[in-house]
Amino acid sequence: MTSWQNNRATRDARIAAGATLARGKVVEAGDATRLLEAVLRPGDRVCLEGDNQKQADLLSRALLAVDLSRVHNLHMVQSGVVLPEHLDLFDRGVAKKLDYAYSGPQSARIARMLFGGKIELGAIHTYLELFARYFIDLTPHVALIAAVSADRDGNLYTGPNTEDTPTVVEATAFKDGVVIAQVNEIVEQVPRVDIPADRVHFIVKSDKPFFVEPLFTRDPAAITEGQILTAMLAIKGVYAPYGVQRLNHGIGFSTAAIELLLPTFGERLGLKGRIATHFALNPHPALIPAIESGWVRQIHSFGSEVGMDDYIRARSDVYFTGPDGSLRSNRAFCQTAGLYACDMFIGSTLQIDLQGNSSTVTASRIAGFGGAPNMGADARGRRHPSEPWLKAGAEADPDGSTFMRRGRKLVVQVGETFGDKNVPLFVEKLDAIELAEKLKLDLAPVMIYGDDVTHIVTEEGVTNLLLCRTAQEREQAIRGVAGYTDVGRRRDPAMVARLRERGVIRRPEDLGINPLDADRSLLAARSIKDLVRWSGGLYAPPSKFRNW
């Protein structure tokens, strides 16, 4: 007779094997490796919770120590490859195949391992894309997750860094998978239930809190005049004319500079209330002065940020918080919000080519995508109108029918023409293409496709690609803001001048901005200490950002 519940039976067998090591659902930290050996099978798809920030570090170490005769060739399906242990798994043979989204701190090593054939690569995804595949063809057999606390029944409190946990648990627990949580403490009653107990099978109490990386903190002291000028151009050349209220900011000093110019430069332009009111954004400390000055109405977050807990708790009108008062973040929902409910994405990149394709992959670093491709893409399924969206759509297709013309999301790439160590931002050919050739990938890892990019802002000016009518115009528009890079110096000066007359390119002077005014005194906060002051002492920066 055909059985239709094989997976459930397998799950029950896994849980029964693990239960021999548990009291109720609780397993001692010292038994974590034995628990994994009992529950896992060779070749399993495993989500080892590596989020953008929160890391199931105890479970990573436990997994690394398994007996290879019992556990091997795992297929890791996790959004973030962040800890060294995540890659040690492949070196040791515990894992074989990888599907992921982001690998910031491990980007150099992951590149070496991919070239060396140590990792069989499935694909590099965007967050939403990987989450989507959790429900279709990459459903985890076992999820190893991290939470702040658990009660004896297994209800979990994830704290401000909820991040990916609800998505991972949903896909695993409701498809006959096993969920194992590491928690910082076991309590009588959790402050709020982020994950209900019946979706959690084992709890391991960690001897120290899970690792969280302060990814979204940029020290205002390190912001340059070039970044300030670029930020001024972005505010006056893009935010203001479109009246962008709903948006997402990428990480980086350029966007931090914009955040710190809102209460000063933005205020003088009379833009308060007209731009930057609703964000899909992590709790960036650099946004504190704008929040305190009454610019920001609402922020939904992918994750949290180290040191921002008390500030968020005290500003619940702005942030999403639980009944316990702490932030509730959710990466899948926030990515969806960024994709469908924001009119603009603005962020930095490492390379932009002549078509406007943008990539953070370089010859020696594969950083992955994270959320940028979703934030920085026109949502083809969008149907609600808004002023910036309609205006951008009209610029792209001035002759189209008003009622039938799609709007366009503003996708803005911002940066200085030369980056760190004088590496040019603009290139003839993306390193991503070379990488695809070398690794024999079907698809080059392009972060944002050129046809989604609407504006590029550098210290030389703003270019509006929506107004370009031919590929040649587009190329010259990009060269025209590429400064002294090779790409910029190979421009056709006559064509660039014509594009400037049409407003496709706008220089600082065209926007009434004097580069000599781009001064650090314009920043609402010039140091981390200033941010603490703005927050009324509620922001508690991690020690690496303290110098007092």
Binding site: L229, K421, Y484
Partner: protein, 105 residues
């Protein structure tokens, strides 16, 4: 280290009466510019000492644009470069011209 030297003939004399001015700082990724009013009105000179080798073409383009834009006649610029980005170089040069144009010694 690399030493570069540029001489330009310019349209007009730089504004102001100040004899010299100093902008910027010597630091990695930054630069210091000393500007002195020591040349005939139709001349401009730029002397560069740079930590970043192989950017001669970029420097040429930056200095050409700068001279064209500001016509800094009579000025000699001495640049101590710590590998600054070209946009920072342009900004510092413009700052130097502004500073020496101010009233003062």
């Amino acid at each position: 280290m690399e030493d570069l030297s540029f001489q330009h003939r310019v349209r007009a004399r730089a504004d102001g009466t100040r004899r010299s001015a100093l902008v910027g700082v010597v630091a990695s990724g930054n630069l210091e510019v000393l500007v002195e009013r020591v040349l005939p009105d139709e001349q401009c000179a730029v002397e560069i000492r740079t930590a970043a080798v192989g950017f001669g073409e970029v420097w040429t383009a930056v200095i050409d644009d700068f001279v064209e834009r500001f016509s800094p006649g009579g000025l000699k610029f001495s640049i101590n470069d710590g590998g600054a980005r070209p946009d920072t170089v342009s900004l510092r040069l413009a700052q130097a011209v502004r500073l020496i144009a101010e009233k003062g010694r």
